[in-house]
C-alpha cells in the first residue's frame, strides 16, 4: 500500500501534488478534470482590490514553453471570498484536497490587508505569498529580488495569520538561496519555487515585442532544468519544506524534483496544454513508486 501523503507546514496533503497558481480556476477547471483528487489546489493570485491585469496580447510561445504577461488580473479578495471559496468548498465536499490561496500585492500594506481578510476564512488551509510582484510603493523592484524585503514582508505577515505561510520565490535573482534563507529566518512555513523567468519574444515583421507588456514570464518544459537546479540549491540551505515547480509535465519530472529536495510539487503550464495533466502526473508518480517499491514519498532518495 502506497502512502502518497505529505506534511507541508503542518498541513497534511493526501498526495504531494498541487496546481501552480494562475493555471487553475475553480469554475473553469471543474469542467476539465477532477481536481478534488489532488493534494491541494492553489488559486490564482488575489489582491486586496481587483486588478485588471495587462493589455493584450498577454500570451506568446517559446520553444517548449510559453510566455505570459497576464499581470495578475483577479477580481479581488472580497469577490474571491464571496464567489471562489464557496464554489471551491462545494466542489471539494468529501475530498481531502486542501485550499492554498496565493496572494499578490504592490506594497507591504496591500499584502497585510489581503492576508488579514483571508485569515478570517476557515476554508483556506494555507497562504502562498507571491513576492514576484513589483513593490510599486518602493520604486518598483520586485519584493522577491531583495532578501531584506522578503524577510520584512514574511515577518509582518506571520503576525497577521495562523495559517501556514508559503513564500513563492522568483528565479530572477542572483542568488536564490539568499532569498530562501531570509524567508525561512522570518518564519516562513514552506517555500515554493520557481515562479516564471523574465523573458520576451519579438515579432520581426512588426518590429516590436509580441507581448503588449513587452516582457513576460517564461514557463513550461523550457524552464525545468533551471527550476530543478534552484530547488536543489535551496534544499541545501533551508530546512522547511519546498514545493517545487517549473515545467513538470510527467511523473518522471516530478520524481526529479523530489530527488532534488522538494517535498511536494506543483503542475502549471502542463495543465493549460493538457487539462488532465495534474491527475495524469499523480498516476504516473504512483506507478513509478510501485515499480521502485517505494512505500512513501520520503522513500524517494534525495541526491
Amino acid at each position: 500500500m502506497i502512502d502518497l501523503s505529505v506534511n507541508i507546514g503542518g498541513i497534511r496533503w493526501n498526495n504531494p501534488i498541487t496546481t501552480a497558481s494562475g493555471t487553475f480556476s475553480p469554475f473553469d477547471s471543474k469542467e476539465l478534470y477532477d481536481y478534488s483528487k489532488l493534494g491541494a489546489v492553489t488559486t490564482k493570485g488575489v489582491s486586496i482590490v481587483p486588478w485588471i491585469g495587462n493589455e493584450t496580447p498577454r500570451i506568446a510561445e517559446a520553444s517548449s514553453g510559453m510566455l505570459n504577461a497576464v499581470g495578475l488580473e483577479n477580481p479581488g479578495v472580497d469577490s474571491y471570498l464571496n464567489n471562489d471559496i464557496p464554489f471551491l468548498t462545494e466542489s471539494l465536499v468529501g475530498a481531502e484536497c486542501k485550499i492554498i490561496t496565493n496572494v499578490a500585492g504592490h506594497s507591504e500594506d496591500d499584502y497585510i490587508k489581503a492576508v488579514t481578510k483571508l485569515n478570517t476564512c476557515d476554508h483556506i488551509n494555507m497562504l502562498e505569498i507571491n513576492v514576484s510582484c513589483p513593490n510599486i510603493s518602493q520604486g518598483g523592484m520586485s519584493f522577491g529580488t531583495d532578501s531584506k524585503a522578503v524577510f520584512k514582508l514574511t515577518d509582518k505577515l506571520k503576525k497577521e495569520t495562523d495559517k501556514p505561510l508559503i513564500i513563492k520565490l522568483t528565479p530572477n535573482v542572483t542568488d536564490i538561496c539568499e532569498i530562501a534563507v531570509a524567508a525561512e529566518e522570518a518564519g516562513a512555513d514552506a517555500i515554493s519555487l520557481i515562479n516564471t523567468l523574465s523573458a520576451m519574444r519579438i515579432d520581426i515583421e512588426k518590429a516590436k515585442s509580441v507581448l503588449a507588456n513587452t516582457k513576460g514570464g517564461l514557463s513550461g518544459p523550457a524552464v525545468k532544468p533551471v527550476a530543478l537546479r534552484m530547488v536543489y540549491d535551496v534544499s541545501n540551505v533551508v530546512n522547511i519544506p519546498i514545493i517545487g515547480m517549473g515545467g513538470i509535465s510527467s511523473g518522471n519530472d516530478a520524481v526529479e524534483f523530489f530527488m532534488a529536495g522538494a517535498s511536494a510539487i506543483a503542475v502549471g503550464t502542463a495543465a493549460l496544454i493538457t487539462p488532465d495533466a495534474p491527475i495524469r502526473i499523480l498516476k504516473e508518480l504512483e506507478e513509478y513508486m510501485n515499480v521502485h517499491n517505494y512505500k512513501k514519498i520520503d522513500d524517494i532518495p534525495a541526491i
Partner: protein
C-alpha cells in the same frame, strides 16, 4: 468534459489545389472524428495541438464545417505552427480539442434578415454559419441570407458560400469582372449594395474591419451586430486569463459612462455583441 482527442487527417490541401487561382498559403484540412465527438455551433473553434511538442501552445482555428464524423478547418500559413500543420499528410493523426467558445447566437436576439460580413479568413466561421442556417430554412427570417465579403488578395471559396446565400457582394481593391457583384473597396463600400436596415449582422475578420463595421452599424436603423473576435490564447479553456477583451457593461449608446468589464475571448466569446466591445485605436 472538454477533451482533447486524436483525429485522422483525410485531406489537407492548399486552395491552389482546390480552385482556380487559389492561394497556395491558405489550406483546408478535413479530419475524421471518433464517435462521441461533441456537436458544435457555427462560430466555435477548436484547439489544434501540433505533433512537434516544442510548439507548446495549441493553435485556435475556427470551424469551417462540421458534419457526420468530419470536421473541416480553414487556415492560413502565418507562422511556425500553421507552417507545420500545412505539412501533415493524409492518414496522419493529430490532436484537437472538442469545440470551444460560445458560437454565434441565432436565437436569443431578435434575429432579422441575416447579413454575413467577412474579411479574408473571417469567412471561415461564416461558411459554417451560412450552411447551418440554410439547413433551417423553415425557421422564419432565415430564408434570406446575404453576404458581404472583403478580400485583400484573391477572393476564395466563393462557390462554396454561394450555395447558401441569396446574394454575395464581393469587395476588393482590384475588382474582377468574372465575379458577379464585385465592387471596388472594402465591406463598407459593399454595404451600399445591400439594404442593411432591420438586419442582423454576423461579422468576422481583421480587428480594424470589425471596428469599422461596428461604428458604421451604429448609424443604421434597427440593426444588431455580432462580432467574432480573436486574441492570442494560452489554454483556450478559460483558465489562464490570457485572452481577455474589454467590454462595456452598459451598452446603452446614450450613456456616456460605461463600466469596463473584461471577458475571455476563448470561453465567453469569441462572439460578442458589436456594441459592447471597446475597440482599440
Amino acid at each position: 468534459m472538454k477533451i482533447i482527442t486524436e483525429v485522422k487527417i483525410i485531406e489537407n490541401l492548399p486552395l491552389s489545389q482546390i480552385e482556380p487561382a487559389g492561394d497556395e498559403n491558405i489550406f483546408l484540412i478535413k479530419m475524421e472524428l471518433k464517435s462521441g465527438y461533441a456537436d458544435s455551433k457555427p462560430g466555435q473553434f477548436v484547439n489544434v495541438y501540433l505533433n512537434n511538442q516544442s510548439k507548446l501552445l495549441p493553435r485556435p482555428i475556427s470551424i469551417y464545417d462540421h458534419y457526420d464524423n468530419v470536421i473541416e478547418l480553414l487556415y492560413a500559413v502565418t507562422g511556425e505552427g500553421t507552417a507545420e500543420l500545412s505539412t501533415y499528410k493524409n492518414n496522419q493523426t493529430i490532436r484537437i480539442s472538442s469545440p470551444l467558445g460560445n458560437g454565434f447566437d441565432l436565437y436569443s436576439e431578435d434575429i432579422k434578415k441575416i447579413v454575413l460580413v467577412g474579411g479574408g479568413m473571417g469567412i471561415a466561421p461564416l461558411h459554417y454559419l451560412a450552411k447551418s442556417i440554410h439547413k433551417q430554412e423553415s425557421v422564419s427570417g432565415f430564408e434570406d441570407v446575404k453576404a458581404v465579403f472583403g478580400f485583400n488578395g484573391q477572393p476564395f471559396l466563393l462557390n462554396e458560400i454561394k450555395k447558401y446565400t441569396s446574394r454575395t457582394v464581393v469587395c476588393s481593391e482590384n475588382p474582377q469582372k468574372s465575379i458577379i457583384e464585385c465592387v471596388k473597396g472594402n465591406v463598407l463600400d459593399g454595404f451600399a449594395e445591400i439594404e442593411l436596415e432591420n438586419s442582423s449582422l454576423f461579422c468576422c475578420g481583421p480587428s480594424p474591419m470589425l471596428k469599422a463595421v461596428s461604428i458604421y452599424s451604429q448609424n443604421i436603423n434597427n440593426i444588431n451586430l455580432q462580432v467574432s473576435l480573436e486574441e492570442r490564447m494560452g489554454c483556450g479553456f478559460g483558465v489562464c486569463v490570457g485572452c481577455t477583451v474589454k467590454l462595456k457593461s452598459n451598452s446603452d449608446e446614450n450613456c456616456d459612462k460605461h463600466e469596463i468589464i473584461q471577458k475571455k475571448v476563448c470561453k465567453d466569446g469569441p462572439v460578442f455583441a458589436g456594441n459592447e466591445v471597446i475597440w482599440n485605436d
